[in-house]
């Protein structure tokens, strides 16, 4: 449709532009004294014919015009008006330029040029220089098919909550990468492809999220969800013959909503606590095992020796131990039975020691 006004406007433009130089001769009554290439032969009969029709009233007007023209020429010193051939040349040049500009198209790599002839799809130009018929007949729409475009959805700034399969809420942000796989379909099959992609993405993501649990959506199953959404979107868009290929869906963020974030942090803390309980128990176990093994080994060694000479070893160990013990502690030997030392006992002992110490 848009070709119409353009075309008409351009042609209209030619005439309005050309009106300028023709303006002064608007009356159609050319003075014969002009340079007279084109105007001369026509001007003369014109004048003669007018004579009888207009009577004498024409002559003063002619005179006036001629005088005015002479004055204008003398004063301005302008070159003569362009004649017919010059205008033809200019027109031809303009048309030639137009033809060149509207029939040669350079298509960048990664682009396709979809050619429509009088509105009907004709063929598609590949990258490079493509030739078509000139503008009003053929039109070329360039479509970028290689570059991957990205749409961001979900909560970048505000919360976008989605219900999961276990009826929890998930705050999710994701992006969809897509490109055009079929430029003709992309141009002619779908009104507003960008909005379509957004809506289809939202719908696909929602339907996938509503089938998984919150835990899966936040954690391990993310990549699985991404593939599922990609597949689903592709299926829907293919159903529209949209000519769009979904390259991938990336979940940027899948968090619990801010309102319950603390509770989720508490879970993480509990997990760490539980881990530390287990770690402590493990440390205890290691320690205990090592101790048991050490003591058992020590006993085994002593016992082997003991078996060789039980009585002597037993005595030796007894005396050695007693020696160590009694050498380090305060001791009192009470000879006669029934004798009770003063109380408090340790005090007495110490005093005795102090008294005896210097004597010994």
């Amino acid at each position: 449709m848009s070709t119409f006004p353009g075309w008409a406007g351009r042609i209209g433009g030619f005439f309005t532009d050309n009106k300028g130089p023709w303006g002064p001769s608007g009356s159609g009554d050319e003075p014969p004294s002009d340079d007279g290439h084109g105007g001369g032969p026509w001007g003369d009969p014109g004048g003669k014919e007018r004579g009888p029709l207009g009577g004498r009233t024409v002559a003063p007007l002619d005179e006036l015009l001629r005088r005015g023209r002479m004055r204008f020429r003398g004063g301005g010193g302008l070159p003569g008006r362009p004649d017919g051939t010059l205008i033809l040349w200019a027109l031809a040049a303009l048309i030639a330029i137009w033809l060149v500009f509207t029939s040669i198209h350079s298509i960048a790599p990664g682009q396709r040029g979809v050619v429509t002839r009088f509105g009907r799809y004709s063929y598609t130009l590949g990258p490079g220089v493509g030739l078509t018929l000139p503008s009003p007949i053929d039109r070329v729409q360039k479509v970028d098919v290689e570059s991957i475009r990205s749409v961001d959805l979900g909560s970048q700034s505000s919360e976008d909550l989605m219900l999961t399969g276990d009826q929890n809420l998930l705050d999710i942000a994701y992006s969809v990468r897509w490109n055009v796989k079929n430029p003709e379909w992309y141009l002619f099959q779908l009104a507003d492809p960008d909005e379509t992609i957004r809506q289809v993405a939202e719908s696909a993501m929602r339907s996938v999220i509503s089938q998984v649990t919150l835990q899966d959506a936040m954690g391990d199953k993310r990549s699985e969800i991404e593939t599922q959404v990609t597949d689903r979107m592709q299926r829907i868009l293919d159903g529209y013959h949209s000519g769009i290929a979904i390259q991938g869906v990336a979940i940027q963020q899948a968090d619990p909503p801010a309102e319950v974030n603390d509770a989720f942090k508490e879970v993480t803390a509990a997990q760490q606590d539980a881990k530390s309980y287990v770690n402590q128990a493990n440390a205890y176990a290691l320690q205990l095992t090592a101790k048991a093994q050490g003591e058992a080994a020590a006993f085994d060694k002593v016992y082997q020796q003991y078996k060789l000479a039980p009585e002597v070893t037993r005595r030796r160990m007894y005396y050695e131990t007693m020696e160590q013990v009694l050498s380090k502690v305060d001791k009192t030997i009470v000879e006669a039975p029934g004798v009770t030392p003063y109380l408090p006992l340790p005090q007495v002992k110490k005093e005795q020691q102090q008294q005896q110490g210097p004597q010994q």
């Binding site: 009106k19 004709s122 009826q167 779908l190 909005e195 529209y240 309102e259 309980y277 095992t289 009192t332």
Partner: protein, 290 residues
């Protein structure tokens, strides 16, 4: 020709313009994205570039057409897949829970003439479809329990909505390509808050159970370690219980009275009787020496 233009430029320009306008309006260009109804004095005459399923792009239909200027009027109608969106709509499930549902439909005008007669314009059609979509979504989803609303695709509910909507849309010359739920949200206020609350309590429960599990595991590990240690001890000490008794007593005396080198035991006084085993020899020889 040139001379005529030079002599009467305004007139000739006007004629050229008129011819052009006549040409342009007699041979309208029908683009691939449009269908058109040619109306002669208010009576639909022909349909240009009508949508037919399965017809490839570029086949007959679009392109140059014709009409009688000033007599035939052309009504342009989109040929592409169009969207109708709706405002989020509250839906009450059979178990009396509310959900805000946001859906969209994609449709295509397959019968431009019928559409022109019934709805006159694309905008009208859109708003009519919007109304129908809204009520159909509410009707179909309102028959479901809450859990099914979350996954309407699975239960085939959306197919029902689509069928219902399609039956209505066919009356306006449109065909529903697809109906989808874009969003299902809990309404603000109590439902949302109670969902948050239940999430919160569920998490608290989880946290508690995780801690308890941790403690339990820790206890098991400790008990196992104790058991293992006593097994090791038993295997070793069981070789000679009597000697173990003696050996352990000796160690115990050392630890109790002397300390194991790390911490000093409390000061001790030992009152020995001469009958003590340790002083057996002592009593035997002390009398002469004292």
């Amino acid at each position: 020709m040139i001379g005529f233009i030079r002599r009467r430029p305004l007139v000739s320009g006007g004629i050229v313009l008129l011819v052009l306008v006549l040409l342009l309006s007699s041979f309208p260009i029908v683009p691939e994205t449009k269908q058109a109804v040619v109306v002669r004095f208010g009576k639909p005459e022909r349909i240009l570039n009508r949508y037919e399923p399965g017809r490839p792009i570029g086949s007959a239909g679009a392109g140059l057409s014709y009409r009688i200027p000033f007599v035939d009027q052309i009504v342009w109608i989109d040929k592409r897949v169009l969207a109708v969106d709706m405002e989020p709509q509250p839906v009450l499930s059979t178990d009396q829970r509310r959900l805000m549902v946001d859906a969209f439909a994609r449709y295509r005008i397959v019968d431009p003439l019928l559409m022109y007669i019934r709805s006159t314009s694309e905008e009208n059609l859109k708003s009519q479809l919007q109304t129908i979509l809204r009520s159909d979504v509410r009707n179909e989803l309102g028959r479901q329990p809450f859990a099914a609303l979350l996954t309407p695709e699975r239960q085939g509910i959306m197919d029902d909505v689509r069928t219902a909507l399609n039956a209505q849309a066919a009356k306006f010359g449109a065909e529903i390509v697809d109906v989808r739920i874009k969003k299902t949200d809990l309404p603000d206020g109590t439902p949302l808050q109670s969902a948050f609350e239940s999430m919160r309590t569920a998490r608290e429960q989880e946290a508690r159970s995780i801690r308890a599990q941790g403690l339990k595991q820790a206890q098991i590990i400790r008990a196992q370690a104790d058991a293992d240690a006593s097994k090791t001890y038993a295997a070793s000490f069981g070789q000679d219980p009597q000697f173990y008794d003696f050996y352990r007593a000796m160690q115990s005396y050392l630890t109790t009275f002397v300390g194991d080198g790390q911490d000093k035991p409390a000061p001790t006084n030992i009152i020995l009787s001469p009958q003590n085993e340790y002083l057996k020899q002592f009593t035997g020889r002390t009398a002469p020496s004292k």
